[in-house]
């Protein structure tokens, strides 16, 4: 049971919205901390998660409205206050409450929270109607924003109940029972347009970068191209004399400049004369590191164990045949379309701060600003804005802290910090470069008996995730990580370790199938015998892609399976220009099991986007480092996939399921590399083992 006050859920803890000017039937009244209602029935539901295009602004309120029995046509959605005690989810770690939009886990971790909160809001309304009519609560039922007492024939809309709202002493915990039977869902699983799309087609959607405040000044930082280097500014007086420049703020990693216009700040940034120290990355050449990584993989001493099932050493000793190959992947950059930025205003006394930011939030809901300023968390108010792309980059708060530091210097003036695209690329935090050595063993019948997967690279979980094969019946499995370290900034990048690791696993399985003359889907059917949900995605994608039908001349299909919460199998159809080495991907088909699906069309959009981002990274994207210096600066030397390079179609079939919802944002991206490499093997008999598959690399493989 939850008690008033203790949970912070009931509204007597919050001030009813009574801003001057809001009167009569448009005044918003709290039902609980999650939802407000006006007398004319308009309902405002709070979304606790970041909205970066994945649709949380609709999915979570839909779940809530389902259990509340709210009339969706009267629902408005706003971001919740960034207060994790009230709006956090225990879905990350039992006993904690976090607001954290990462790992494709928003729907997964909030599903039960939102259902319970919606049911509790409905309970408050039922309680109020029962008191009002003096009838037992148990005799009441609800329809779309309406309470009905069948016995007496009385009906009252949620809005009309507002003057009679009374709070129960306690709110039941409906997770123990009393939630809807999924069979009765009306909103969940239906086609509901995303709430924030209209403002994204007329320029009115506000991102943090769009904020303009009175007396606002602009901050930029020069961070250099050698991660970890420390700056010494040699022309401070000249910079301070420049028009519009207000302050120079030194950081350990950068020199900051604040000016009264953005153009003055950028002009000063260009004029900075900085001497940079050496750093750990000095002398590091990313493209020359692979032989060293291969040696590390060959060293007799094992690395940190990531997963162990059975006894893989014994499987190899008794194998009829073994297979071994190294797979590689270069660094990639997030390239979210909105460069990093924030606006922060610190009060004149330094004792409070307002923060406007597009953030994927984090373990610290106040994003490190309280510690930076030495003030309590409740003195920091975070105004979450739409994110112009996240992909993992915006769960790192380095840019928020930079802005906080500038705002501390400029208090009480608000400071807008902008990273230029060049800053964003060069001082990026990349998906790590790795080498992966895979070994497989088969027995006399040709069945897979063991898989050993050694990941060499920097970043721990960033490189070791996605290495488990829980849906493949391979009795002996071993995964280890061997650590390298170069001082290059690293970060989660959509699907994290799954990108490189699923590539290696799926390509390796096809190499076995190729060697055995076996169809890659037939081989996977055998491997998935004990995993019916995974198998169903495989069978479905085989069907919709016409796997067994003949393919046009010069084309081939490839398959790859991914588990990332949800289970999905993808098939692509490719051709290769043998003169240029350019791979063309013509079609992609996906079958997905994501448990209960809240918004089917949005799940399809996530599959489409995941495949496109996968294609971009797999075919084109590459950050390279020479003598520690990042070599790329903008979209001209870090090209992304463009309109003329997209497949003709990406088709997704969602398999029906009543299981708990699983994330979908990172299931498609890791399919791409394996599916392409496997199609390429079928088409050419050659093996692509190094990401990205740039035309130069493909030509090299074709000519090998």
């Amino acid at each position: 049971m939850l008690f008033i006050g203790a949970s912070g859920l009931l509204p007597n803890f919050l001030s009813c919205s009574d801003a001057k000017g809001i009167q009569g039937n448009t005044k918003k009244h709290d039902i609980t901390a999650w939802v407000r209602i006006t007398e004319d029935g308009q309902i405002t539901i709070y979304n606790p998660a970041a909205e970066m295009g994945q649709g949380s602004m609709t999915a979570l309120p839909v779940i809530f409205a389902e259990e509340m029995d709210a009339d969706w046509s009267k629902v408005n959605v706003e971001f919740s206050p960034q207060e994790s005690d009230i709006y956090g989810s225990p879905g990350w770690q039992p006993g904690t409450k976090l607001m954290f939009t990462v790992g494709s886990r928003t729907t997964n971790s909030y599903y039960t929270v939102m259902r319970n909160a919606g049911a509790q809001a409905r309970h408050v309304l039922l309680h109020s109607a029962a008191k009002h009519w003096e009838v037992p609560l148990e005799e009441l039922t609800t329809g779309a924003s309406e309470i009905v007492h069948e016995k007496s024939g009385k009906k009252i809309s949620y809005g009309a109940l507002v003057p009679h709202l009374t709070m129960p002493e306690t709110l039941p915990d409906f997770t123990e029972g009393g939630l809807k039977d999924p069979e009765d869902f009306k909103l969940i699983g239906s086609q509901i347009p995303r709430t924030e799309i209209p403002e994204k087609v007329d320029g009115s959607a506000e991102f943090a970068i769009d904020l303009r405040l009175p007396d606002m000044v602009y901050g930029v930082l020069e961070r250099g191209a050698l991660h970890g280097a420390q700056p010494t500014l040699t022309n401070e007086a000249d910079i301070l004399a420049m028009e519009g420049v207000q302050k120079i703020v030194p950081f350990d990693h950068a020199i900051g400049v604040v000016a009264n216009t953005l153009e003055a700040a950028l002009k000063a940034k260009e004029a900075l004369d900085i001497h940079w120290s050496d750093a750990q990355a000095t002398g590091f050449n990313s493209q020359d590191i692979y032989p060293e990584y291969a040696q590390m993989a060959s060293a007799p001493k094992k690395g940190s164990a990531v997963n162990e099932v059975g006894n893989v050493d014994q499987a190899f000793r008794t194998a009829a045949k073994t297979y071994e190959a190294d797979f590689k992947n270069d660094y990639v950059y997030h390239a979210q379309m909105e460069p990093l930025n924030a606006v922060i205003q610190v009060a004149a006394d330094g004792q409070s701060a307002e923060v406007w930011v597009g953030s994927q939030q984090g373990a610290d809901t106040k994003l490190g600003i309280p510690d930076l300023l030495g003030i309590p968390p409740e003195a920091v108010n975070v105004h979450l804005q739409y994110l112009g792309g996240g992909f993992g980059r915006r769960s790192m708060n380095d840019f928020v802290l930079e802005c906080g530091r500038l705002a501390q210097e400029m208090a009480p003036k608000p400071v807008k910090l902008l990273w230029t695209r060049e800053d964003d690329v060069t001082y990026g935090s990349y998906r790590p470069l790795t080498l992966q050595r895979l070994k497989l063993s088969t027995d006399a019948q040709g069945d897979l008996t063991g898989i050993s997967h050694c990941v060499v690279g920097d970043g721990g979980n960033l490189v070791a995730g996605g290495t488990r094969n829980d849906h493949y019946a391979i009795p002996n499995q071993w995964v280890e990580w061997r650590e390298a370290s170069h001082g290059v900034r690293l970060k989660h990048w959509r699907s994290v370790g799954h990108g490189p690791n699923k590539f290696a696993i799926e390509a390796m399985i096809d190499e076995v199938a190729h060697d055995q003359g076996m169809d890659p889907i037939s081989l996977r059917r055998k491997l998935m015998a004990d995993s019916p949900r995974a198998l169903a995605t495989l069978n479905k994608v085989a069907e919709i892609s016409g796997w067994d039908a003949p393919v046009s001349e010069g084309r081939a299909k490839g398959v790859a399976f991914v588990e990332h919460g949800s289970l999905g199998t993808g098939v692509c159809e490719i051709s290769v220009d043998r003169n240029t080495g350019k791979i063309n991907v013509h079609h992609f088909w996906i079958a997905l099991d994501a448990g209960v699906v809240i918004q089917p069309d949005n799940v399809k959009a996530q599959m489409e986007g995941g495949i496109i981002m996968g294609l971009s990274s797999v075919l084109k994207e590459q950050i390279t480092i020479m003598d520690g210096q990042v070599q790329q600066r903008n979209y001209d030397d870090y090209p992304l996939l463009r309109m003329q390079e997209v497949p003709d179609s990406i088709e997704t079939v969602i398999l029906p399921s009543a299981e708990h919802p699983e994330g979908v944002g990172e299931t498609a991206t890791p399919m791409v590399a394996g599916a392409i490499a496997n199609a390429f093997l079928k088409l050419t008999g050659k093996r692509l083992r190094h990401l990205p598959f740039t035309p130069e690399r493909v030509l090299e493989v074709l000519n090998s």
């Binding site: 007329d202 909105e338 112009g388």
Partner: protein
């Protein structure tokens, strides 16, 4: 600082900025027309696409000094009266945007095509739209939506 007069979305606007300031910064930071986005600053991403006398251009590489007082600038805010340009309606209908950051540029680029070529082929659409990046990967929906909006049988009244 210098004073400039610009014709934007049918109104005359005055700004006082340093010579050489990019039109994008003038629009966003000085005039508050923030629907036009900064993405790269070097005409590679197309997020800042606006119309200059009806032609799609990248505001980030235009200097305010080079815009005459007669040239008509249209931004996403001025594309339609009530966010009801056929493309904007079709965009909502097809649920095109994800993060939404590039979408002003996409829509402005597409709207310019329709002005000149009301029935483009799919290849013409792809070529015309190739300069506007989308990291979320909404390309296929953009393509389909432009196709639908320009197909004579499905064009909305």
């Amino acid at each position: 600082m210098a004073s400039y007069t610009l014709q934007i979305n049918g109104s005359s606007r005055e700004v006082d900025v340093a010579p050489g300031t990019s039109l994008l910064r003038v629009l966003r930071e000085h005039l508050g027309l923030t629907g036009t986005k900064y993405g790269c600053g070097i005409a590679q991403c197309g997020s800042c696409t606006i119309h200059l006398d009806g032609n799609p251009v990248r505001a980030c590489v235009l200097q305010v000094d080079n815009i005459t007082e007669e040239q008509q600038i249209t931004t996403i805010e001025g594309l339609s009266e009530n966010s009801d340009h056929p493309l904007q309606q079709a965009w909502v209908e097809a649920q095109v945007p994800q993060c939404g950051y590039c979408q002003s540029g996409q829509i402005m680029q597409a709207a310019a095509l329709l002005e000149k070529n009301p029935n483009p082929s799919i290849e013409e659409i792809k070529t015309h739209m190739n300069g506007v990046l989308c990291r979320c990967g909404t390309y296929l929906r953009i393509l389909k939506t432009i196709e639908l909006a320009t197909s004579p049988t499905t064009l909305k009244s």
